[in-house]
Point group: C2
Chain length 344, copies 2
Amino acid sequence: MARKTGDTPGKARSVTMSTIAQMAGVTQATVSRALNHPEVVSPDTLERIRQAIEATGYVPNQLAGALASSKSRMVAAVVPSITNMVYSALIHHFIELVRDAGYQTILVESGFSAEEEEALVSSLISRRPDGILLTGVHHSNRCRSQLLSAGLPVVEIWDLTESPIDICVGFSHHDAGVAVAQFAHDSGYPTAAVVSAGDERALRRKTAFCKRFGALGHPAPLEVLFDGPASLERGRIALSKLLDLGLSGGVIFCSSDLLAHGLLIEAQARGLSVPGDFGVIGFGDQDYATATIPPLTTVRVDRSDLGNRAADALLSRIRNNSPENRSIDVGFEIVARDTTQTAD
Amino acid sequence: MARKTGDTPGKARSVTMSTIAQMAGVTQATVSRALNHPEVVSPDTLERIRQAIEATGYVPNQLAGALASSKSRMVAAVVPSITNMVYSALIHHFIELVRDAGYQTILVESGFSAEEEEALVSSLISRRPDGILLTGVHHSNRCRSQLLSAGLPVVEIWDLTESPIDICVGFSHHDAGVAVAQFAHDSGYPTAAVVSAGDERALRRKTAFCKRFGALGHPAPLEVLFDGPASLERGRIALSKLLDLGLSGGVIFCSSDLLAHGLLIEAQARGLSVPGDFGVIGFGDQDYATATIPPLTTVRVDRSDLGNRAADALLSRIRNNSPENRSIDVGFEIVARDTTQTAD
DNA sequence: CTGAAAGCGCTAACAA
DNA sequence: TTGTTAGCGCTTTCAG
């Protein structure tokens, strides 16, 4: 069954290392060496093997390799949603970095559900990845223990905790909420409102914001909470609701830039001025935050940095470096643009 | 492997099917049956095995299973970019559907590069997925032949071709461009302009649009082309450039809703009216297309339908080797909202 | 319904 | 530098 390089349709007799070995006149083990440790194989042999591979279009079976070596050269990543820019940009960087280190990423969505995540993690573990990335630090107990007993490197991102499963890299959502409250206060806003999507971390920011803003001597903020994900539409709806609730003046802290952008659009539609009639603060500093009218005041988290650090941390753990730092804080920064007034 | 506090590691020795078998007093083969064909195992045995699994927290090694059965229960998906909503929404549906069928998806980004894609596909094949999804229909020859000789089900999406590698599901970008030109003409626009990101398919739409619009007796459209991806910012820039080029009136066909939205914002910033001063047509009908001011006229492609169909097609190919239909056209639809004038 | 046995394709000692 | 020899953990006949 001599096979050519051409694209012959039909069932190709599977060519394995042994096929290559035979063609090159060596044993299968030598082919394995040629592929994984070429430096210990003679140039001559190497060349014959190379030719055989070329001629057959042989592609190694990593399943077998992984089974034999207990190294799958694969990492798994669990994110709440891939359609959410906040996570996708971060994961993009992560994927890129681990790929450069020779790892492929298997990406799955948990849809913000802990049970879903548990099932996912379980089936991911069965594929024996070399490491795993999780979004957030709240996981079911079974999930934690499975991960722990699988003994694989785990990095939890986008949040911080005292007791990570393995390591975590993120920032404090509580602190972010507090910082924004302080910022609102310092900017001279007497009142505030909050708009949030139904995301546990966003809610934590909201709570911290409200608490601190109150502690600073202000009335409790009006609240508009959504159950599902954020959208431009919901941002518009939020402003309408807030107005119905009697909002006048003050600053509105949104759980995402998307929501904030929606607010801005609704304000425009109603002929309201920002920051004249009220201030708006977003969260995330998406790339479009500078392109809105007016440019959006928001909280910046360096997502590419976070993705990179997460990749670095996971990679170094995979290489068995002991975790120098189990908890990495990447921080955040309030970027004051034009949707908020400047201090009196 | 340093261990920290938490649940006891117990037996550091990895637990396999044999471990379970011993505990349940059966052979390893029976455990395999219990897991994969419970209907042929006695309820009694099943229960003992279940308990052993429960007690140990055993997780099957799918690597070994896949190697032995030549079924990895895994599909691979190659998209240009995961941060691009156009693809991520689609892939979201795809992932969900194949997951319900028991397949996990390994997602990789090709970054719009054919060489990159070739390398990616090669390393994906080495993981022996049961099927593979590719975005677009233009691939390097080596890529095609590798896929062909690997003999695995392939579905190409988001475009159509006479000669798919295996099957393709998408729509004609050429026809979309033509349809928009016709729409612009019918709406009474005497002139047009195009704004496009550096995406091969977008360029094909643009070309078809320009050609047909010219054939309808109109002057050649002004063009603003970007090299990389679209963004709100670039939409704003595009309008500025167009104005610099002397644009006045007419309709502007954008390669994406994002660009169109940017144009709308820039128009607002300049006090220009849409559709009063000029019309705008987007592409994609993203969810925010109804939330812009004014709501965006755009081209709608049912991405969830596309994702679902792609999943169905791939799944059915994986199950039985009969490609009923090698080319599936999901079509598109022009959604006239308020950024374009209605016919005279 | 269950056991025994033969691999799946590869890695990794250990010899030679 | 290369061959020999064991497995990796599981699926799958084939018997019984």
